[in-house]
């Protein structure tokens, strides 16, 4: 009898534990960014009014609706790139030739380097990329239709709202790129500078329009403090170069592309890789400081004279 009750107690405890676990977060990933609607609509206006007015007027509310309808109230594990088709059609604009910049494993660096379209127009510098960059979102069947608590990671399900968005955006970006195409790779990245399975490999390269592209320029730059992993002509970079050449592209590759090196050096000015050669300008003078107390100097002078006088007396 006792053992029966003990088993019952044990089972109830197990049941209660599993119940409370179920009341925890549904998914392993971060939830939808709070104030998502305000942020993206604000970004849309910021982009079209300030960052890049050449794209013309866009209806920012309409853009939000199209974006939202791709995933709101839906199963968060069943969102496809094509669900964003209307959003892409509404936000699409020309990408200037020779300004496309593809990348892998160096998002912040690319963001800095592209200069928000001043130097290059990376995916995050297009309206559709700028709209969603660094944000997170997913839907749920129940009201309010967006899950602010948690969202599925790629491991939990591939067809999640965010990954599908970036697949669609990457495809579109590649399709509308022309002229000289640039790719910035991280030579210190684990697993190699060119991920053979990744956004660039799977969604961008296959969607490049060969007849609109004159050349593909690859830059491989190592982290300043990082290991010297991949370089042009070896390992994964060679795989990439061969793949592109086989596809018929004119390909060049450069290690330690100087402008990017300089940018990385801003955070490591004293590193040996960042040292200027000896012919650096004379302008590099040492610091000039203020005399905090003219009176202090006077005191020192008087003391010195006093000491001199005293030694003179001694002799």
């Amino acid at each position: 009898m006792n053992s029966f009750f003990l088993s019952l107690l044990f089972l109830s405890l197990l049941f209660m534990t599993s119940l409370s676990e179920g009341q925890g977060k549904k998914w392993k990933g971060e939830g939808t960014t709070p104030n998502l609607e305000s942020i993206v609509i604000g970004r849309c206006y910021e982009y079209t009014r300030i960052v890049n007015p050449s794209v013309g007027e866009k209806n920012c509310s309409e853009l939000w609706e199209a974006f939202k309808n791709a995933f709101i109230k839906k199963d968060p594990c069943n969102i496809l790139p094509t669900d964003y088709e209307l959003f892409i059609n509404l936000s699409l604009h020309t990408i200037p030739p020779n300004k496309s910049l593809f990348w892998e494993n160096n998002q912040l660096l690319v963001n800095s380097f592209s200069g928000r379209t001043r130097r290059y127009t990376a995916l995050g510098d297009t309206l559709f990329g700028f709209f969603a960059d660094l944000l997170n979102w997913c839907g749920q069947a129940t009201s309010p239709g967006l899950d602010y608590d948690s969202c599925p990671t790629t491991e939990e399900c591939e067809n999640n709202a965010v990954d599908s968005f970036w697949r669609m955006a990457s495809i579109t970006y590649a399709q509308h790129s022309s002229g000289v195409i640039h790719v910035l790779l991280n030579g210190s990245a684990e697993g190699g500078a060119y991920p053979v399975k990744g956004f660039f490999a799977d969604y961008e390269i296959p969607n490049l329009q060969k007849d609109k592209i004159s050349k593909i320029v690859i830059w491989v730059v190592d982290d300043i403090e990082g290991p010297d992993g991949d370089s042009c002509g070896i390992h994964t970079v060679k795989i990439l170069e061969d793949r592109l050449k086989t596809l018929g592209y004119d390909v060049t590759c450069t290690d330690d592309y100087k402008p990017v090196m300089f940018l990385l050096c801003v955070d490591h000015p004293d590193h040996s890789k960042c040292a200027f050669s000896s012919s650096a300008p004379a302008a590099q003078r040492g610091p000039i400081s203020s005399d905090r107390g003219g009176s202090w100097n006077k005191l020192m002078f008087v003391t010195f004279v006093g000491l001199l006088f005293r030694s003179a007396l001694v002799y």
Binding site: Y45, C232, T254, K258, M261, L263, Q284, I288
Partner: protein, 276 residues
């Protein structure tokens, strides 16, 4: 420093929706978005409890339906109180005539904050606004330039925000000045010279560090021992603020070299040639 936006005119094709657009461009750059920006991560705590719609309301109330040549600091007081936040010590970066360079720097190096990297400055950067006594109360056609009237909404805003930014500074503060301009690196008529210096608190600020930058390949119009820098030194010392000056602060010079990689002044020891 008065932002370039002060000189811009804001136009809108659809007057009806433009208030929403202005609201959304300014007021709804919410704290969350701000938090996402890399360069804010050092002061995340300070921004957690900001009410963006309320901030927009207080900005709007400062100028809507008012004569755009008659704006006062009192008009902006509620906004300043709502949107201000503390600045970590040793991180304030002031500037004069180095708008582009200083902001490229704070975007790459997250150790420093200019006024335009604080919530208030960030919201208002590159945006213009002004009111009008007749409906809808906001003028989307044109706004007075500083030369037309000094007490215009944009000038008053930036003067107030600059004052508060200086008052909030503590520890070692940095100033990026331009040593390649003819008129001199330091001018007492600039926002830095006329407002920021006089609002630095000597009890909180331990030193003022000048970074005097020359354009790569540009004229070296002034050095740390130059005329206007010496005047700056005197002004600071009069206020009991310690002064140091460094020419071509390395990390910033490296940033300038991004745009001039082949210049003789940008030759790196480790430079390699292109591999075909």
């Amino acid at each position: 420093m008065i932002a370039n936006s002060e000189e811009k005119r804001m136009k809108s094709k659809d007057g009806q929706n433009s208030s929403t657009q202005l609201q959304e461009a300014i007021g709804l750059r919410s704290p969350r978005l701000f938090l996402e920006r890399e360069y804010v991560t050092i002061s995340v705590q300070a921004q957690q409890d900001k009410d963006c719609p309320k901030i927009w309301e207080s900005l709007k109330q400062a100028f809507i339906y008012k004569n755009p040549c008659n704006i006062t600091t009192e008009d902006y007081q509620p906004l300043m109180e709502l949107a201000s936040h503390p600045i970590p010590c040793n991180k304030s970066l002031f500037w004069s005539k180095t708008n582009d360079l200083v902001h490229r720097y704070t975007k790459s190096n997250h150790n420093f904050l200019t006024l335009e990297d604080t919530l208030l400055g960030y919201m208002a950067d590159r945006v213009s606004w002004c009111g009008d006594p007749s409906a809808p109360g906001i003028n989307y056609e044109s706004c007075p330039k500083r030369t037309e009237c000094e007490s215009n909404p944009i000038s008053v805003f930036w003067k107030m925000a600059s004052k508060m930014f200086a008052e909030a500074a503590c520890g070692v503060v940095q100033v990026m000045l331009n040593g390649s301009i003819e008129a001199g690196a330091f001018r007492s008529s600039s926002i830095f010279g006329s407002i920021e210096i006089s609002n630095l608190n000597p009890d909180k600020v331990s030193a003022v560090q000048i970074w005097l930058m020359h354009d790569i390949g540009g004229p070296q119009s002034e050095s740390c021992s130059g005329y206007s820098i010496r005047r700056l030194k005197d002004t600071l010392e009069e206020r009991n603020l310690k002064f140091t000056c460094e020419e071509n602060h390395r990390p910033v010079q490296l940033l300038q070299c991004v745009n001039n990689p082949d210049h003789a002044d940008c030759r790196l020891c480790s430079s390699k040639t292109e591999t075909p």
